[in-house]
Amino acid sequence: MSTAPTTTGGADADGPVPPPRASVPHETTTVPGVDSPLDAAPDAAGWPAGVPVAAPAEPVVADVGSGRVRWDPAERRARASQSFWTALVGVPAIFSVLRLGVEAGGELQTTLLLVANVGPVNLLAGFLTTAARLLSTGMVAVFALGAVLAVSADRLPPGTRRRPLFARWADITPAWVVLASFLLALITWPLLYLPLLLPAFVAAFQLRPARLHERVLPRLLMIVALLAGYGWLLLPTLRDAAEQGDERLVLVLLVVPPLLALFIAGPLPGMVIRPLASVTEVAMLATLVWAAVPVISTPVLPLTVTTVGTENGPAEDVRGHVITTDDVNMVILQERGGVRYVPVDLVRAQVLCPTEEELPRHQLRIHDFHVEDSLLEGMGRRVRPVHRIDAACRTPA
């Protein structure tokens, strides 16, 4: 996962390749996968075609103390793996703590109150619940794009030997991690977007239709049968969407991706790789930032409405998130901001409420599973099919 500058082949004046390192001995140019200095440019063109020029195969020179140390590929791989796991555990942990600040409404004292009362495990679990979708989307996108770029990298114009970032990430990631991220996506993505996972999967593992059968006719028959099965599964939903009129995007999202899956595997022409790599890297970063905002602002604690008041006296509904309850007080972070300490004796009722962000955007179902539910959510709704909205939830904030 390192983004350290890498020079994997001949250098050129194109820019993407970092400046040469004079300290690297010339003889290394004779070994494939090893740094080559600027004056070894003629050798670079002589790379055997098809040999992956993977980033980890090169030694990197780093300043450590006064001397220079060369890391061998294995060590570099180990370090990459270390940083990968550090990032995997660290990023959610840091995010979880940071979003407490957002949840507290930017107030330092409220943030501290939350920190004091929300356990680390709850925090992490809460974060994963809301961020699993984003996490799996990011990983699936990187692996699918990485594999497409990796298989095309050999077609890069001579001289631009540096492999795109996503391709290098895809190279060093074990297949089971890729598979696990697809599985996570399968159970957390809304059903409506699941068809997109098909071309992504085919791209990530570069599965060409030829893998189905070596002869053309049986292959075509199998493809037609698979598509027919898919169509049969979705036919009622597609009919509904067509009737509703303004659901063209849904129709496209359900119909087109399986067809794309037939063509998506394979190398891209050399000229599109570089722009595709740079555009997708920037787009991915922008998307992650854009998608992270709602994740950070999603509350950690469940929304409740607490009815407060004396027996037979006037009652008041407090909308907010219960931070903690002790013998004396129930501490509620109000939806509109501010913390209320409500004496426990005055609490008359409390109900759990949904938020308006959970309202569906489409009125479509796939065999009674709502298109915006993930497989997990859909199964959950089968286990507890009755959903009652308590009257108190309608009261204004």
Binding site: A141, V148, P190, L192, Y193, L196, P199, A200, A203, D246, L249, V252, L253, V256, P257, L260, L262, F263, I264, A265, G266, P267, L268, P269, V272, L276, T280, A283, T287, A291, P294, A315, P354, E356, E358, L359, P360, R361, Q363, R365, D368, F369, H370, E372, D373, E377, R381, R382, P385, V386, H387, R388, I389, D390, A391, A392, C393, R394, T395, P396
Partner: protein, 313 residues
């Protein structure tokens, strides 16, 4: 060789297109996942209605129509009251602290809505074209017919509408009701009183001989005095659609009430225990001649609510 290379070029163009299209679709999906719902939500419509932010919801009901709306030991009870309770709870008003039933006489139903003394009227309120010029209706939530109840001693004498025209019999009905207009149309001379309950009292005291009104209202009095009265089947041929009255200036509230009636209707249609069915079974059900079902409400808006993703089957 040439053919092979052109095939491979075609292939890579197809792959490029597929990748580009897949990325475009992914971007479109991303945008779709962040857009607001097209349809208004219940909460949004609620914010537009005049009851939003009110601490109490006031529902006008009758207090002297047994089974529909009556005071029993100081508590409001009856089919209309139960329907009112369901609508109120759906709108966010549950419990005595937040819900107030206001007694409204038959003739005061429209003025009460116009004057703002009540937010809703659930009181055997027939939806008619004339009334629709003055108040809005959500519903129907019940379809009933016009019937005649006679004192048991006259059950063999009053059999037809013709008999009702006989000046020897004194027919009573409540003022401002659809029945009054219907009887007038059929040239039946009537004694008009404030409420159907007054007619029933009058018959028991010998002042009147027959009372005409909605079957649902009369069934209540029959339930109270089963030995003293009897239904007479007369071919009035009109069906009364009972609706929930809403101030004419609050279309948002009308839409919400219609939406929640529809929700109950759909539950009942799917074979679940709907709030309507529960209210019916507890009140009117055992006393009507024929089993009734909730009618489908008219002009129901499409709204989004929190439970839209719940399984239907």
């Amino acid at each position: 060789m040439n053919a092979h290379s052109s095939r491979s070029r075609l292939r890579s163009v197809a792959t490029t297109l597929a990748v580009a299209l897949a990325l475009t679709l992914a971007a479109a999906a991303g945008c779709d996942s962040r857009k607001e719902p097209d349809l208004p939500s219940v909460q949004e419509v609620l914010r537009e209605s005049h009851i939003y932010g009110q601490t109490k919801l006031r529902i006008g009901v009758a207090t002297n129509e047994p089974l529909m709306g009556e005071l029993r030991n100081g508590q409001h009870a009856g089919f209309d009251v139960e329907i009112g309770r369901y609508i109120a709870a759906s709108l966010g008003y549950e419990g005595d602290q937040r819900l107030e039933f206001v007694s409204v006489a038959t003739e005061d139903r429209i003025p009460a809505l116009q004057g703002g003394t009540v937010d809703l009227v659930v009181s055997s309120f027939s939806m008619t074209e004339e009334r629709k010029k003055l108040v809005s209706f959500a519903g129907p939530y019940f379809v009933t017919t016009q019937e005649v109840l006679v004192s048991s001693r006259l059950k063999d004498k009053i059999r037809t509408i013709e008999d009702l025209r006989d000046p020897a019999y004194r027919v009573c009905t409540s003022g401002g009701s659809t029945t009054e207009a219907e009887l007038e149309k059929r040239q039946v001379k009537t004694f008009v009183v404030k409420d159907v309950g007054d007619c029933v009292d009058g018959i028991r005291k010998g002042r009147y001989d027959a009372v005409s009104s909605d079957e649902s209202i009369l069934a209540g009095f029959l339930a109270s005095f089963p030995k003293e009265f009897e239904f007479v089947d007369m071919p009035f041929g009109t069906s009364e659609l009972l609706g929930i009255g809403v101030p004419i200036g609050d279309p948002a509230l009308r839409d919400l009430v219609a939406f929640f009636l529809q929700k109950s209707y759909e539950q009942g249609r799917d074979g679940q225990a709907s709030p309507w069915q529960t209210a019916y079974n507890r009140t009117l059900g055992p006393w009507l001649k024929a089993e009734k079902r909730q009618p489908q409400p008219l002009e129901v808006p499409k709204l989004v609510d929190f439970d839209d993703k719940a399984p239907r089957r």
